[in-house]
């Protein structure tokens, strides 16, 4: 080439470069415009359609679609398309299927311009393999969304910080429709698109979350209101409960007061009862248990309180006891005494007499105190007669052993002063008076098995008792001699 030709060639080259530069500048401006349009809205489906419309209008890609990755699945779904008879929106592409599927799988851009001839070639190979029996199963080719006989395809992965979210794909029925220069604006666009989609999705998520939050807030407000209501109810309940509790407390206080009063009275009553028991205990020494209870129960006046009463007194003792006691072994003595006491005690109780004292073989019993009895003298005489009979049996037994013992009884009636005799720690129940002396003296005068009574005593018992006179006895302490009788037996 000579100089002129060279210059011409250079000019041509420069012109071509200028044209390419102008084209690129225009494209960059267009992309900026599209980008700003995209970023001014956050509604996802609007965005996608806007992008595809711009790609056709501005960049001349007549058949294009945007597919987005399904969450946690290796497949894509067509979200927007332009330039197809049927929308194709919603159609699925699995990773690895066709140009779009392989781009999704590898996350790299791919541009093909010879789809038809490549497929023919492979189909021919497939046919040969089938002929040779090398294809065990007929693998059915997949049905992919897009032009049925696309010759050229350019698919770009949509990535946000290495996170794959979908594919932007353009197609053409012409072979080699796209070249390297087309990749540049589409790459820039894909970048913007990915970010915009991600933003829109996040916005959607935010909206959704905000809606959820609003709902939650409403529920919370409702909850608060019902809670306030419940609190009011509860407070009222509590106040009522408190009032009831205060009343109950007051009642408890009252009861406690009552209780303390009761306690004190109880203490008092216990003290009283103890005193009573003490008295019963004391009285039991003197009286039969029944009598003691009766006294304590308040059936009679306190017997230990000094008082005067007309009583019938019975004195008795064993003739020959002293000599017996001196000449016998202590065990023998005690044995006789205990037998004698036991038998006598039975009879005293049976006749409701009161044993005032006993000294060894001697006993003093009186009737009509502390418990009044009807016809005390009769009782006394009946008792004395039974005693004589019983002792007579005992005497038979004692004689066999060589004991010489006999019973003597004296009975008198009259007023006596009765009450507690003694000192602190040793009180005794005692009767003092002429009547007791008389009964004692008469007992002393009695010969073995005699029951001596003053004549006076018999005045009302003439029909009851058979008695013989023993004369007028001079008794110590008595001025005049006392006409005395010995009770022989009961008449009838």
């Amino acid at each position: 080439m000579d100089i002129r030709e060279q210059i011409a060639e250079n000019e041509r080259i420069i012109e071509q470069l200028n044209r390419e530069l102008a084209k690129k500048s225009a494209e960059v401006r267009i992309i900026q415009q599209i980008s700003s349009e995209i970023n001014s809205t956050l509604h996802l489906t609007r965005i996608l359609q806007l992008i595809l419309d711009s790609m056709d209008r501005v960049l001349g890609f007549q058949h294009c679609m945007i597919l987005l990755k399904e969450e946690s699945e290796e497949k894509l779904r067509v979200f927007a398309s332009r330039g197809y008879d049927q929308e194709g929106v919603g159609a699925e592409v699995k990773f690895g299927e066709g140009v779009i599927g392989v781009v999704a799988k590898r996350k790299k851009m791919m541009r093909l311009g010879n789809i038809g001839s490549s497929m023919n070639y492979l189909r021919a190979v497939r046919a040969r393999m089938e002929e040779a029996g090398q294809l065990a199963s007929a693998r059915v080719p997949v049905n992919l969304p897009g032009l049925p006989r696309a010759q050229s395809q350019l698919a770009i992965p949509l990535l946000v910080k290495d996170r794959f979210i979908g594919v932007l794909a353009v197609e053409s029925p012409k072979p080699n429709a796209f070249d390297e220069l087309d990749e540049i604006p589409l790459n820039i666009l894909a970048n913007q698109v990915a970010i915009a989609i991600d933003n829109a999705r996040m916005y959607q998520m935010e909206e959704h979350r905000r809606k959820e939050l609003d709902e939650a807030n409403t529920k919370l407000v409702q909850l608060n209101e019902s809670l306030e209501h419940k609190v009011k109810e509860r407070t009222a309940q509590l106040e009522q409960a408190h009032a009831e509790l205060s009343a109950a407390f007051k009642r408890v206080e009252e009861q406690a007061a009552e209780l303390s009063v009761f306690n004190r009275t109880l203490e008092q009553r216990v003290a009283e009862q103890l005193a009573e028991l003490e008295r019963v205990g004391r009285l039991k020494r003197f009286f039969s248990p029944q009598l003691a209870q009766l006294i304590v129960a308040g059936g009679t006046e306190d017997p230990l309180k000094t008082h005067r009463r007309e009583v019938t007194v019975v004195f008795l003792d064993l003739r020959g006891f002293t000599a017996f006691a001196e000449t016998s072994e202590p065990e023998e003595v005690m044995g006789v005494l205990s037998e004698y006491h036991a038998e006598m005690g039975k009879l005293i109780l049976a006749h409701e007499g009161t044993l005032e004292r006993f000294t060894g073989d001697g006993m003093m019993i009186f009737f009509n105190d502390p418990v009044p009895v009807p016809n005390p003298p009769e009782r006394a005489i009946r008792m004395a007669l039974e005693m004589r009979e019983r002792v007579a049996e005992l005497i038979v037994k004692w004689r066999k052993r060589g004991y010489g013992l006999d019973l003597g009884v004296g009975i008198a009636q009259g007023y006596a002063t009765i009450g507690a005799i003694g000192f602190e720690g040793r009180w005794d129940y005692g009767a003092i008076g002429t009547v007791t002396n008389l009964a004692a003296r008469l007992c002393g005068e009695a010969k073995p098995n005699q029951i001596l009574v003053p004549q006076r005593l018999l005045w009302t018992m003439d029909e009851l008792v058979e008695a013989e006179s023993v004369g007028d006895l001079s008794l110590k302490g008595f001025l005049k001699p006392v006409p005395t009788f010995n009770v022989v037996r009961l008449r009838g």
């Binding site: 791919m110 001839s117 497939r126 070249d179």
Partner: protein, 142 residues
């Protein structure tokens, strides 16, 4: 160096099949139809290696090869003098070729059956455009 100009790139899209010639060590030439000569960079091209055949065997004993490619836009043809350099089973070239083959295989039910074994990388020693082989065609446009 930059042997391959930008204008040859459309010829490297496999739109129109290319032809290639290799020669065995015993001096027998071998001519084949190549579905696509891949543009790697201004000094390299790649051919897909799917199965072991005369071509692949030849270049491994005698690296000299020629390729004849046609630009589907201008229908101009180019003669390329090549020298087999090495084979790749990974990397951006292999992956780009593999993706294409995987896509087409999936569309023809040949997934897993038709696979790229390797990318044979050739150094381009010269690229000559044939300027006198076109007939002017009235009304024929791209």
């Amino acid at each position: 160096m930059g042997v391959l100009p930008d204008e040859i790139k459309p010829a490297m899209e496999g739109v129109i099949p290319s032809h290639g010639v290799t020669c065995s060590l015993d001096g027998t030439p071998n001519v084949t139809v190549i579905s696509q000569v891949y543009y790697v960079d201004a000094d390299h091209v790649a051919l897909s290696f799917q199965f072991f055949n005369k071509t692949t065997r030849n270049v491994r004993e005698n690296p000299y090869a020629v390729a004849w490619v046609t630009n589907p836009d201008t229908f101009e043809t180019w003669d390329l003098e090549l020298e087999y350099d090495h084979s790749e089973t990974s990397g951006p070239v292999f992956e780009a070729m593999d993706m294409r083959i995987e896509a087409i295989a999936s569309m023809t039910g040949m997934t897993g059956i038709f696979k790229l074994k390797a990318a044979d990388i050739y150094r381009v020693k010269s690229a000559v455009k044939n300027t006198d082989e076109r007939l002017p065609l009235a009304g024929i446009d791209k």
